[in-house]
């Protein structure tokens, strides 16, 4: 940006690759798609701001926040589901589903994500409403933009940016509540006792929201976001895109001209309304382009014009490239519901649903009991004075339920062997020990296994079973070493 202009002998600057940001002053519009956008915006923002405040009773041993990513304790709570770090594949699975879901939506209805649900779109929309509220609609904003800086302009700008900042702060501030108990963190936050990382996160997110939503807006979509690039590879002739039906609209001309020369002009009266309402400031009549996020606002605008001039709606409309070919030939348009029934969407849907069912199945069948074992390797075995052989193991018992549970630890295999733990004596050694593991916790325990004299080295296993529930069980295989086997 700051690269100095090269000096040229002729004095005419060479063509620059840098395009200056042209501010967009999009006009207010009402219509079907605007209403859908309103609804989706309200739902998205509500989900974002209120989710951390939903309570969910998990009993006395676990947090009561419905959705909580507890990084400090390495737990992920989502309503009735609790995920431990080693079960992170559930989250990975969800992310993969989200990715494939995007493909699915794209192949069925094009860039619907961009137009309605993407945070960049939602917040840009919100900020543009603030513009309208403070500075007025398109023309007023344009005038203000051109006006020289004076007290009135400064006052308006300061007011507007203050509102931007308030929204940004609320946005950045809400994020941290997903990572700790929301009410506690909120009071800590205002009292200045929250962790530094909370303040840092809020600061960074406030700043990014302020800059990306308040100022960069469509620049993010056009220059920064990878999704439009991926889209261009994903869209095909059966994907819905916002289309200006040039075969119907051209040649464009004002109403007056059209009246004077009947039959010469198409339906487009060249009123520029579609350009005026576009949040990314493009002209859809130039054809499909990367700047179009398919928000449908130009459809609303054009439909209104068509209604006023007594022409059929849909000069600009959602259509596929196939539709375009078809309609150019004068055939009736295809029903869009049909678009969903084609191999591409069905394959995406099958993969998406398959992963979903696999996750649900694993969720339903997973146990909340876990056992892992690490054998002592130095020394591998100890000869005891009575000739028996002792091996040491570091076990970790996992109780992944929200209540303390008594669990039975047993030796499977290794005939004649008994075990004891470091906190009991060899006198109480047995093949089955009972331990109580605290709620939602792991317990490390050192276990000594002693096998009768002249036992040989062999594989065996520990099993851990929740008392009174045989399905809640886990097995950890390991090795027993004895003299003479090296």
């Amino acid at each position: 940006m700051n690269r100095p202009e090269p000096i040229t002998p002729q004095g005419e600057p060479p063509v620059s690759l840098y395009a200056r940001h042209e501010p967009v002053f999009n006009r207010r519009i009402d219509g079907k798609f605007r209403r859908i956008k309103w609804a989706i915006m309200v739902v998205c923002l509500a989900i974002y701001w209120f989710t951390p405040w939903i309570r969910w009773n998990r009993g006395p041993y676990a947090p009561d926040q419905a959705v909580l990513i507890d990084l400090a304790h390495r737990r992920f709570y989502m309503f009735g589901i609790e995920i431990w770090p080693q079960e992170f594949y559930f989250v990975a699975g969800l992310l993969i589903m989200a990715g494939i879901g995007l493909f699915l939506v794209t192949s069925a209805v094009g860039r619907a994500w961009c137009g309605y649900a993407c945070p960049q779109t939602v917040w840009t929309d919100l900020f543009q409403h603030v513009d309208r509220l403070i500075d007025g609609d398109r023309n007023a904003r344009f005038r203000l933009y051109k006006a020289p800086w004076g007290p009135a302009k400064i006052a308006r700008r300061v007011l507007k940016w203050a509102i931007y900042l308030a929204i940004s702060f609320a946005t950045g501030g809400a994020w941290i509540f997903y990572f700790a108990d929301a009410p506690t963190l909120q009071s800590q936050f205002w009292h200045g006792t929250a962790p530094m990382v909370a303040y840092g996160t809020v600061f960074v997110l406030t700043l990014t929201t302020f800059v990306l939503g308040g100022f960069m807006r469509e620049q993010v979509c056009i220059y920064m976001c990878p999704w439009p690039r991926i889209q261009t590879a994903m869209l095909d002739e059966k994907s819905l895109i916002v289309t200006y039906k040039d075969w119907r609209g051209e040649k464009r001309g004002s109403l007056k001209k059209a009246q004077k020369n009947p039959g010469e002009y198409g339906d487009c009266i060249d009123c520029n309304q579609c350009v005026a309402v576009c949040p990314t400031g493009i002209d859809i009549r130039e054809g499909p382009q990367i700047g179009c996020i398919t928000c449908g606002l130009c459809i609303d605008a054009c439909d209104r014009v068509m209604a006023e001039t007594g022409r059929p709606r849909g000069l600009i409309d959602y259509a596929t490239l196939d539709d375009a070919e078809n309609e150019k030939k004068g055939n009736p348009p295809t029903r869009h519901l049909k678009l969903i029934w084609r191999p591409r969407t069905l394959v995406y849907f099958a993969v998406w649903a398959g992963i979903g069912f696999a996750l649900l199945f694993m969720l339903g069948t997973r146990t909340h009991t876990g056992l892992s074992v690490a054998k002592d390797r130095n020394p591998p075995y100890i000869l005891m004075s009575d000739g028996s052989v002792r091996n040491g193991y570091a076990l970790r018992l996992h109780n992944m339920q929200n209540r303390p549970r008594a669990m039975e630890l047993a030796i499977e295999g290794l005939p004649g062997a008994v075990m004891w733990t470091e906190d009991m004596g060899r006198a109480q050694a047995a093949r089955v020990l009972t331990r109580t593991v605290a709620a939602d916790a792991t317990q490390g325990v050192r276990v000594y296994v002693v096998a009768p004299a002249d036992s040989h080295g062999q594989a065996f296993a520990f099993t851990l079973t929740a008392r009174g529930d045989a399905r809640e069980s886990d097995t950890a295989k390991t090795q027993f070493d004895a003299p003479g086997d090296e």
Binding site: N2, R3, P4, P14, I382, M384, R426
Partner: protein, 320 residues
């Protein structure tokens, strides 16, 4: 510079046709270098780095002199940083250390928190002081006791282990050092080779490693006359004297017949430093707790006077 007309002096500024960028004015075989200016942001970053670097050399030690370097106005030194890190480390341990200093080791099992700290600290001290002989897994080797097992020459409760650590084994000048002196039966001519072989066979027969025979019977007689005084009539040893149990499976100096013959002929006498003169009492307590925690630690025996009939621990678990 074959073409002097291209030199800056003679031709003034030259511009590349394709990019309209000024050239540096040199030309080699028709190849010219463009004088592309550095991006402004890069230059400003560069200047900022210079300013930062200058400031850095003022606040931190930097400029070398003849004998020393400038100290820097922050007064920072790497030695000072190490010292403060060590202090911080000591501060985190201070509570456990203070607790252990006041606590008689007999009461340690009643304080699980302190016990855990002691075992952890002992494990660290063991790696520094003990692994040279006992091995990093405390498994010892021939002549060096294995500390994981349940066989103790002098006793395996916390207090006894602590005493052994403080006074060492066979340390001259320490009245309470662990002292056991098996005579050189062979080299001093107390027994002849036949007697030694016989008594070795007898001892091996006690743990079933050799079958009873005329030889072992002869050995039994030698044992009763020469060895029972320390190792006991049943050969189960005596912890008071540090005499090992000869009926168990554990052999400090090897369990083959040749090992026994060698040991009877000219015994190997191991030593251990009196750690009381080298380590502080807390570290010794920690070491005792660690060794005790390795799986063979014994409970305290009720004092004989109090109960009147203390079980003879030495009889059940001793020694080699």
């Amino acid at each position: 510079m074959a073409d002097t007309t291209n030199s800056p002096a003679s031709a003034g500024r030259r511009f590349d046709e394709a990019t309209q960028t000024e050239t540096v004015g040199h030309e080699w075989d028709g190849i010219e270098e463009l004088n592309t200016p550095l991006p402004r942001w890069w230059l400003w970053t560069f200047y900022a780095c210079i300013v930062f670097a200058l400031g850095y050399t003022v606040v931190y030690p930097a400029w070398p002199g003849i004998h020393s370097a400038t100290q820097g106005v922050f007064g920072w030194t790497s030695r000072g940083q190490l010292a403060s890190e060590l202090d911080a480390q000591a501060a985190t341990r201070a509570k456990a250390v203070a607790g252990l200093a006041d606590l008689p080791i007999e009461q340690l099992p009643q304080h699980p928190e302190l016990m855990r700290a002691a075992v952890a600290g002992g494990a660290a001290a063991f790696k520094v002081n003990c692994v040279q002989c006992h091995g990093s897994g405390a498994a010892g080797s021939k002549g060096y006791p294995n500390l994981n097992d349940d066989d103790w020459l002098w006793g395996g409760d916390l207090k006894t282990i602590e005493t052994t650590l403080i006074h060492g084994v066979r340390q001259p000048g320490d009245d309470m050092t662990r002292q056991s002196m098996m005579p050189n039966f062979g080299t001093d001519g107390l027994l002849d080779a036949g007697q030694i072989s016989a008594v070795a066979s007898y001892v091996l027969s006690l743990s079933g490693k050799e079958k009873p025979s005329a030889m072992t019977q002869a050995g039994a007689k030698v044992f009763a006359e020469n060895c029972a005084v320390c190792h006991g009539d049943t050969a189960k040893g005596n912890r008071e004297l540090g005499a090992p149990n000869l009926t168990d499976a554990i052999w400090l100096d090897g369990g083959a017949k040749a090992d026994l013959v060698a040991q009877i002929t000219h015994p190997h006498h191991g030593v251990m430093p009196a750690w009381g003169t080298r380590l502080d009492p807390v570290t010794i307590k920690m070491l005792a707790a660690y060794v005790h925690s390795l799986g063979g630690g014994e409970e305290f025996q009720a004092p004989a006077v109090a109960t009147g009939a203390a079980p003879a621990e030495a009889a059940t678990q001793a020694v080699e």
